[in-house]
């Protein structure tokens, strides 16, 4: 007879994730029509997932949103916009997944605002560092060095990541 939580993602987290997803769409929108179209589809899917507590839908939506940013980058969006858009798509997904997880463990009504804020802040901080680092590398390297330098740098980063496993 114990009470059952009303299921659904944490409201604050879901709403915050939607805001960030809008930013992801907006970052690439002025530069590419196709990218915006794909991104809008992704956003719709993402919203259904984030508000309805469906992980699959949220993840698929975020991937399509990310693809929209990639398409915008392909069609000539500036580096800064692509970086912000890609980061926002990842952060939005992170927040949505977090909100769904909170909903599963704590229910929709439980107060978890502080938890969401801290999680969002950490995620944003990581994104900011990633943007600054890659933009920094780009502005140093992009001057005239060949593309292979960038690719090798990226591969080095991936190898380093793999080595991070405890």
């Amino acid at each position: 007879m114990s009470d059952l939580p009303s299921f659904g993602p944490n409201r604050v987290g879901a709403l915050a994730s939607l805001g960030v997803a809008l930013l992801a769409l907006g970052a690439g929108a002025p530069y590419s029509g196709t990218g915006t179209l794909v991104g809008a589809t992704g956003l719709a899917l993402f919203a259904i997932g984030a508000l309805g507590g469906r992980r699959g839908s949220a993840t698929l939506g975020a991937v399509v949103l990310f693809s929209g940013v990639v398409i915008a980058g392909w069609e000539g969006a500036p580096v800064g916009a692509v970086l912000v858009g890609a980061t926002a798509a990842v952060v939005a997904w992170d927040l949505a997944e977090h909100a769904i997880g909170l909903g599963e463990q704590l229910g929709r009504e439980a107060d978890a605002t502080r938890n969401v804020i801290v999680h969002g802040a950490v995620s944003l901080a990581v994104g900011t560092i990633a943007i600054s680092a890659s933009y920094g590398v780009y502005s140093v390297v992009g001057g005239g060095l060949p593309l292979s330098t960038l690719i090798l740098l990226l591969l080095a980063a991936i190898t380093l990541t793999a080595a991070l496993r405890p």
Partner: protein
């Protein structure tokens, strides 16, 4: 919710708090103090960042394929790599929590609201960026305000406090272990802890008398209120018999003497006290209810027992209690204030009448042997059972055959929404008919009616 929101802000606390700690460290294992114990710790990977690497490769691959024209794709890939790297930095969080649970009132009256306050302090060295607390509310208790769950982040030395309100129900309710989930900042590794904070909520309903059930003639030799078929002193007229030497003068039928000249003595029905055993069905079947929101048969039986006990005791009868349960509960018939208190406690807190169904199997022969010898020969038995299975009706017939006068008070917990449930209801009706045909009185207590009404209705039928 309002209260929880007000107090959810972490507040720094002094370090000299002498309360117990529940400490867990990956190296130390489980370290528990006297009261609060961590009963289990599980680490699991959430694997939530698994796809982000693939996303990075998607963007990176496209960037490479398309050649030097679009460096931005390679940079988007770098973002994905950064998050993958971030998720890989995850270590199991070091959790050292101090947990307290306080009740606004540990011994409330039934239906009182009890405020439960949970305080969790981070005694560990680092920030707990993702802390989720699910309090273990006893199963038979309902939360009516706020939620027993809370999510927050806690800096070292700070504490979080949240509260919720539960409605007290009859019985002894032990809080279950609190479940705490702690995740690392990336959310890749989750540590789940069950922290047992022993807290007990005891709710003893007062005994409040209802209309007394009219009992039949089987009585003890003590004076009381049950009219018997024996002639003697009393109120109600019984018979006139020939005068015998030594009959009291005030019982001589003077009218008869004036009319006929012969002496005759009036006899009245003697009033004696009955010895009553309240036999409460507390087997697993007694925990059935019409719907999850309704009271189960046991709760209603206890409610009836409460009222009947007080009513019979007030009338001067001797009342005892026995449970039909794998767990023993026997209160021999008695009277008096102390007996009353005893019964009140038994009905509320005896393990046999726990809000949780018994875990042991019920063996009817064992129970019969245990209880059979205890019930005094000249006692009446009031059986409180939902009559939802065959055992109790058969037992009633057996008691009846043994010479006890048996009355059954049966709370109706059947429902009529599915064919199966209707069948159960019909079977129960048949059992009641079967019992009535064999001369057992049955009070069928509809959930809509009050107990007093059900008893009055039954009484009216019996007297006619």
């Amino acid at each position: 919710m309002t209260a929880a929101a007000d107090t959810a802000e972490p507040v720094p606390t002094s370090d000299d708090d002498p309360a117990t700690d529940a400490s867990v460290d990956p190296d130390e294992g489980v370290d528990a103090d006297a009261e609060v114990t961590v009963t289990h710790v599980v680490d699991r990977e959430t694997n939530r960042w698994v796809g982000v690497g693939a996303l990075a490769f998607l963007a990176g691959g496209l960037g490479v394929l398309l050649g030097g024209g679009v460096p931005s794709l390679l940079l988007a890939a770098a973002i994905g790599v950064a998050y993958a790297a971030f998720s890989r930095t995850a270590r199991p969080p070091v959790v050292d929590l101090h947990v307290e649970r306080t009740l606004g009132e540990a011994t409330p009256d039934p239906d009182d609201s009890v405020e439960v306050t949970v305080t969790v302090r981070n005694d560990g060295p680092g920030l707990l960026s993702d802390l989720r607390i699910v309090d273990g509310v006893p199963r038979a208790v309902t939360v009516d305000e706020g939620t027993p769950r809370h999510g927050t982040a806690l800096r070292p030395g700070h504490e979080v406090r949240f509260n919720y309100t539960v409605t007290a129900r009859r019985g002894v309710h032990e809080f279950e272990p609190m479940t705490v989930y702690v995740r690392d900042p990336a959310g890749s590794i989750e540590r789940e802890l069950a922290i047992d904070v022993p807290t007990r909520l005891t709710c003893v309903p007062p005994l409040s008398a209802t209309e007394p059930l009219s009992l039949r003639g089987l009585t003890s030799r003590y004076a009381g209120r049950v009219t018997t078929d024996t002639g003697g002193e009393g109120v109600e007229f019984h018979a006139v018999r020939e005068y015998r030497h030594g009959d009291p003068v005030n019982r001589i039928d003077w009218n008869n003497r004036a009319r006929t000249g012969a002496l005759a003595t009036l006899e009245f029905r003697e009033e004696r006290a009955a010895r009553v055993i309240l036999m409460i069905d507390a087997r697993e079947e007694a925990y059935w209810a019409a719907s999850p929101d309704d009271e189960n048969a046991l709760e209603r039986s206890i409610e009836a027992a409460n009222a009947l006990f007080a009513a019979l005791l007030d009338r001067g009868d001797q009342v005892g209690i026995v449970a039909i349960s794998p767990i023993e509960c026997w209160l021999p018939p008695g009277a008096g204030r102390e007996h009353r208190t005893q019964a009140q406690l038994r009905l509320a807190t005896a393990p046999a009448f726990s809000p949780q169904p018994p875990e042991d199997r019920f063996f009817r022969s064992l129970w019969r042997r245990r209880v059979g010898q205890r019930i005094p020969d000249n006692s009446q038995v009031i059986v409180l059972s939902s009559l939802c299975d065959e055992f109790v009706p058969k037992e009633v017939r057996r008691l009846d055959a043994l010479g006890h006068t048996v009355t059954v008070v049966s709370p109706d917990v059947t429902a009529a929404d599915t064919p199966g449930r209707r069948l159960v209801a019909i079977e129960r009706d048949l059992r009641i008919t079967w019992l009535r045909e064999s001369g057992v009185r049955v009070v069928n207590w509809d959930p809509e009616d009050s107990l007093a009404l059900a008893l009055r209705r039954a009484d009216a039928r019996w007297i006619r």
